[in-house]
């Protein structure tokens, strides 16, 4: 078994999506707390977060939580009154829940974008539509090419003896000229690229999409497990077993048998990426010590 980030892109995507979905839909505090922990752990295990990022997320967490009670005055437990407006404990707690929901998604997507390099993203799009994948790939090639060329055009114009524009009007004229050069450049060289594509048989038949990633049994297992573990949570959310309300007063945390099953399975699901990643790292350290 490899580390989580070495799994097939489809497995990574399904697993992270399954883990990110419930906290976005449900406001159940247990689910939210679990998701937040799972997301944070994955980031920490992968060393995907800098101190600055963690600090600013904590700031964001507090900020989002504080905003809600300023605007929402529902709830029974009034803590204090500012300008004749009650600040309630329920509103504060709801604010914290909403921040947890946002942050857990933020953490998971940060890991997702770090794991999904362009090759992986391409493999994933290729599974859905080979044409889109090619479009993505050529865009990934074209965008840096375009900006590099724009830099060269500016340098060439200054090298020609045109002064660096100093007034807004001059800057506008200069940028128009650069843009015009770049448009012609893109069109002309687009023709070359199109020729090169046609010369290699683009459009003669149905395309396949090659990728560097093989789908292994373990990847299938990750996908299957992710789907299975989402099921109880999904059922719980649909049937209302996991429902939790903050207003007017906090309802008790649901603790029926189906709810407990959902907590357990969602807990496993949330921890799975971090656990798999950690396992990979530990195993590697262990192997290395024996080499």
């Amino acid at each position: 078994m490899r580390a989580f980030s070495d799994c097939h892109p489809a497995a990574v995507a399904v697993c992270l999506l399954c883990a990110a979905l419930p906290p976005m839909v449900s406001m159940n505090p247990v689910l939210l707390l679990t998701a937040l922990t799972g997301g944070l752990l994955l980031l920490l295990v992968r060393r995907g977060a800098t101190g600055a990022f963690l600090l600013s997320s904590a700031g964001l967490f507090l900020l989002l939580a504080m905003i809600n009670p300023i605007f929402s005055h529902k709830g029974e437990t009034v803590l204090l009154v500012i300008n004749d407006r009650p600040i309630t404990a329920e509103a504060i707690l709801y604010g914290f829940a909403a921040s947890a929901s946002v942050l857990s998604a933020l953490f998971l997507f940060r890991s997702f974008t770090q794991i999904m390099t362009s090759d992986r993203l391409l493999c994933l799009t290729g599974m859905l539509s080979p044409k889109t994948a090619l479009l993505l790939s050529s865009a990934l090639r074209f965008v840096p090419l375009f900006s590099a060329q724009a830099g060269r055009v500016r340098a060439a114009r200054r090298g020609m003896g045109l002064a660096r524009p100093d007034s807004p009007a001059a800057r506008f004229r200069e940028n128009t000229a650069v843009l015009s050069t770049m448009v012609t450049w893109s069109l002309e060289n687009g023709i070359v690229t199109a020729d090169s594509m046609a010369a290699r048989g683009y459009g003669v038949g149905k395309r396949t999409q090659a990728g560097l990633f093989r789908f292994r049994r373990a990847d299938g297992a990750v996908i299957l497990l992710s789907l299975l573990l989402t099921l109880p949570t999904l059922v719980g959310m649909m049937s209302g077993q996991l429902a939790y309300s903050y207003y007017p007063a906090l309802s008790g945390i649901p603790l029926s048998l189906p709810a407990a099953a959902a907590y357990l399975s969602f807990g496993l699901l949330s921890l799975m990426p971090a656990a798999l990643e950690l396992r990979g790292i530990v195993k590697w350290n262990f192997l290395q010590s024996r080499i």
Binding site: V153, W185, A199
Partner: protein, 540 residues
Amino acid sequence: MEFLTVKDLSFRYPGSAEALSGFSFSAGRGEILLLCGEAGSGKSTLLRLLKRELRPKGTLSGSILFDGRPIEALSDREAASSVGYVMQNPEYQIVTDKVWHELAFGLENLGLPLDVIRRRVAETACYFGLEELFERPVSSLSGGQKQLLSLASVAVMRPSLLLLDEPTAQLDPISAAAFIEAVVRLSRELSITVLMAEHRTEEALPHADRLLALSAGRQLAFGETRRTLTEIGGCRGLIGELPAAVRLYARLGGTPPCPITPREGGLFLRERYDNRIRSLPEPPPPPDTGEALSLRDVFFRYGREQPDVLRGLTLQVREGEIFCLLGGNGSGKSTALSVAAGLLRPYAGQVRIFGRKLFPARAEPCRRGSVAMLPQDVTALFSAETVREELKERGETSLFFDREELLDRHPYDLSGGEQQLLALAKVLASEPRLLLLDEPTKGLDASARERLLSLLRRLRDNGVTVVAVTHDVEFAAEAADRCALLFRGELLSVGTPRRFFSENGYYTTAVCRMTRGYYDLAATVDDAEALCRANGRIGR
């Protein structure tokens, strides 16, 4: 049995005169056929007619037999995979962003199963030595590597015919030689028939089995290489494209066989010409004029964490001379030029232009029209729809652009040489006293080089100082008053081209290689010819 047979091929673009007429030639399996002709002689059109997907619109007559069948009879898939086409520009013919994906692109188009794609991509990457680059983004490759990738991503489709349209025109000599080597290997080892159009044939001609010479849309000569060379020896437009040994042979009017490589050229001289006079009288050193450009202990790097590109570069260019700065890839040539143009600011050292500091402390570089630079990619200067508007952008129509008939064309429709002429005219509009050129001969044919050469001399005679950065040793030998070699950001040797190139052992012109140990201080074909004539034939 020939593999490719072309008979009476003529072609006409819609609504215009015949672009090509009366082409009949053939190539055997695994042979290399070199197409040789000036820009606009119809090489590209001819190659495109042989590649169905890229065939221009127009009327075609005559027949093209591919392995005994008319090329029209091939299925789409066959036509795409069995005829490979590589173009001039390494940058834009690459479609995808990763090396492995570019290799797989053609096979994906054919809809092959993934296992087949994986295997073919893997073996091709091994054959071309691309394993190290396999997962790299294409943008991190050098021009030579990109062009090799383009060749590999065509070869991965297992073609039996390769069409190469000036594939090395944009490359430096080392990368160009590596590319030609890879092509030769494909033809010799895998029996792939190759049709290659080239301007600079020093590298390619020795490997060519047959030669097809074109001029103005007509077939001048075709046949076995050496025989064809003697046939076209007198043709002025073509001779400039041929290797130095062939040019010398043609000038001296020798008897066959015609030498091609520097080794054969050396033998040719030793067998036929005396060497009582070993060197030409050296021209007197130019009068000491002021300094146009001086760099002292200049250090530059692109980022704090990156290595120095210029390491204490010290260089003086005299007023009114043509100075060529030579060096390999990554030697810092272009960077040095950008520093001199005031585009990059060095972190240590001093740059003076006509005695004035270029980078006053904490201020914009002051140039005020005294310096102008022609970039490597001249199309970066074009922003208008016609040549006329292009010239207008810089004030009145320039004195240096004398091609009236081109004024209403789109800049992109000009040939490489004409584009460069236009760009130079734009650059010269500010009447610079110091002109900086970055790889001015890249992609030019022989006559465009000749025109550039005479233009530069005219500028010099008008008092303009020219500094050119180039890979092109032959150009430097002909154009420069002084040459210098840059290596790892340092200047290693400076001298007149004759001294400079005869003292270099490897980084030198073909004529120097030919005459080594026989004549001294001969760098160009002109030098060698003068020496031969002065000495006279052996036994007369």
